[in-house]
Symmetry: C2
Subunit: 350 residues, 2 copies
DNA sequence: TTGAAAGCGGTACCAA
DNA sequence: TTGGTACCGCTTTCAA
């Protein structure tokens, strides 16, 4: 058979992985005594190959420790098997859970995660440049995208699913927890329980979810003929403390309900109320949060909050991106999930 | 000049990005009236190119929105600009911080993160198969690797840096927080303050850091002529509660110091002690943790713990992997960092 | 079913 | 400095 004469380009195929990362399909082909094409087919589902050659190839592959090179196949198929995940703030306690769920579910569908964490929701452009360079099959984005940025996705035909955000001025595939509805539940419960003097601590100014939650709460309060005091925070523990401090001062100590835009700030506020203001919770002050992160359920806090159905939301995001990778022309779709009230001990609700 | 005759393979170069992901270097070349090689050079640092053509190429590139294809260049250069990050349990509260630091620092050095989260530290083989397929430049691993797995890294010449783990039976580049030294500080402080009846809650059986911390504490106690009761947990909040419950029963209520293998369990134990056992902390019982995660510092817990210097550790991991990507033959090196005692209110220390 | 061959989009060597 | 060209390792026609 004179396999020794087999060539690749103008080099004998016997060269190859000695000083490289690993064996190539040519090495396997030679080892199994078949053509390189045959090796390739063995690793692609639904290719016509006889069971005989298939098993010989697989044996050779196992023996050499061959793994198809995803970079090479990504180049020719234009499918990298990569999805970019953009997350603004991993220290938020909410996002680690989301990220863990996303990677697990994507891995189960044979997709890898290219992770990008953003310092602010603003420095996205540099990050997106990298996303384009890597020819990802799609992107799941938990950060604010401008219309221009969204247009880039469409123009490059890279499907994108927004997580807890909407396209602004544009209809984009997204999965959300209904912030307004969640706040309505909280406000209604608080008002029905007799609260009248409300304070709100918002998240960062450029945060989309914060805006949604705050206006959701404000509108519902207005429906009840009530107003509220507002201070802005950064979604972190300290913001909860300083926010409550500020509101307490501004209200002259007559605040009786505090709505925090996320759990972390609610936790900070609870500590401030108990330890600095020496208030009994929830008798003297009701505090509510949003997200339903694990620490919110800890005995020392038991935050009354709205739990986002993270499992269902990430599953939705993953299946939406997969569908759109398969068919880039699927119409935009927004999937909204209701949050679930977790009645803790930090607030009196009717 | 008859550029229309320029060919690529046997196709006119005018074809191309209309139905693809983006323009190629050929498109830019045509647009700028130069060869494709010239375009390529413009995007590689330290290539000889005249400022004139350079600026024309860059103008054309900008106009077309050209970004060099990282997949293609990864194929030929065998540098993908990717580092795999393997993390066992993102819900640990400690790892999100590590991950955020790692991605930020790697991005600053023009490296992207391919993220893999592991369900258990055991299902690594399937994950590693993916790592190999993507020809990553290196890997940072916060999970247990067997000798066989470590050998694969060496054989494929993919540099690896272990995070808070050592190579077992093999010398591997790694960055660690000194668990034993940290536990020594805690044990010494507790013993000096008069504690004599110790309990320990370990992490999962397959966790390396847990083993390190537990044996570190046990040995130091032995040095003081003391023993301890041991129960095993899962590094989570509930394990802290159930662990303390079990130890309290086994000790007949005469436990006076509890050493938890991480902060999360310490927090659970604190809640159990206060709310179930109705103990005054730290008078009736001292509880210590390990890690120094953010919630440990919250007012309601103020866990006495050892803070790992995450910033310095991740910086070390990143610079070690970068060095080894540049030179795969660098000798293994273990960089160990001392933890810092955070005296909270959960324990009496001398 | 099988193998030969033409790319995928770059990089890098080479001669001009 | 520049353009031509041979690859990187795989997928995918197309004939045999």
């Amino acid at each position: 058979m004179n396999r020794g004469n087999l060539k690749r380009g103008n080099r004998p195929i016997s060269k190859s992985h000695t000083n490289h990362r690993g064996p190539t399909s040519y090495d396997v082909a030679q080892h199994a005594g078949v053509s390189q094409s045959a090796v390739s087919r063995c690793f692609r589902p639904g290719c016509s190959i006889s069971t005989a050659t298939r098993s010989r190839v697989l044996a050779a592959a196992r023996e050499l420790g061959y793994q198809p090179n995803a970079v090479a196949s990504g180049l020719i198929t234009r499918r990298t098997g990569l999805v970019a995940v953009l997350i603004s703030n991993l220290t938020n306690l909410y996002y680690p859970e989301v990220l863990a769920e996303l990677t697990t579910r994507l891995a189960a569908r044979d997709i890898r995660v290219l992770l990008f964490t953003l310092q602010a929701e603003s420095d996205i452009d540099a990050t997106l440049a990298q996303v384009w360079r890597y020819r990802v099959d799609g992107a799941i984005v938990a950060a604010r995208l401008s219309q221009v940025q969204l247009r880039d996705f469409r123009q490059k035909r890279v499907p994108v699913v927004l997580y807890n955000r909407f396209g602004e001025g544009e209809y984009v595939a997204s999965v959300c927890c209904d912030s307004a509805a969640g706040e309505h539940i909280l406000v209604d419960g608080l008002v029905a329980a007799g609260h009248r003097s409300f304070g709100i601590i918002s998240g960062p100014d450029d945060s989309y979810v914060s805006a949604q939650r705050v206006t959701g709460a404000q509108r519902r309060l207005a429906d009840h003929g009530l107003t509220s005091l507002l201070v802005s925070g950064q979604f972190d523990y300290d913001s909860g403390k300083s926010g409550l401090r500020a509101l307490w001062a501004r209200s002259g100590g007559k605040l009786d309900a505090l709505i925090c835009a996320n759990d972390l700030m609610a936790i900070g506020a609870i500590d401030c109320a108990r330890n600095e203001l020496l208030l009994q919770l929830p008798e003297a002050l009701s505090i509510v949060g949003f997200d339903g992160v694990a620490p919110a359920a800890w005995d020392s806090y038991r935050v009354t909050t709205i739990r986002q159905p993270v499992g269902r939301m990430t599953e939705a995001a993953v299946s939406m991106i997969i569908e759109r990778i398969a068919d880039a022309d699927l119409p935009p779709e927004v999937r909204t999930f209701a949050g679930m009230l977790m009645s803790g001990g930090s607030a009196r609700l009717a």
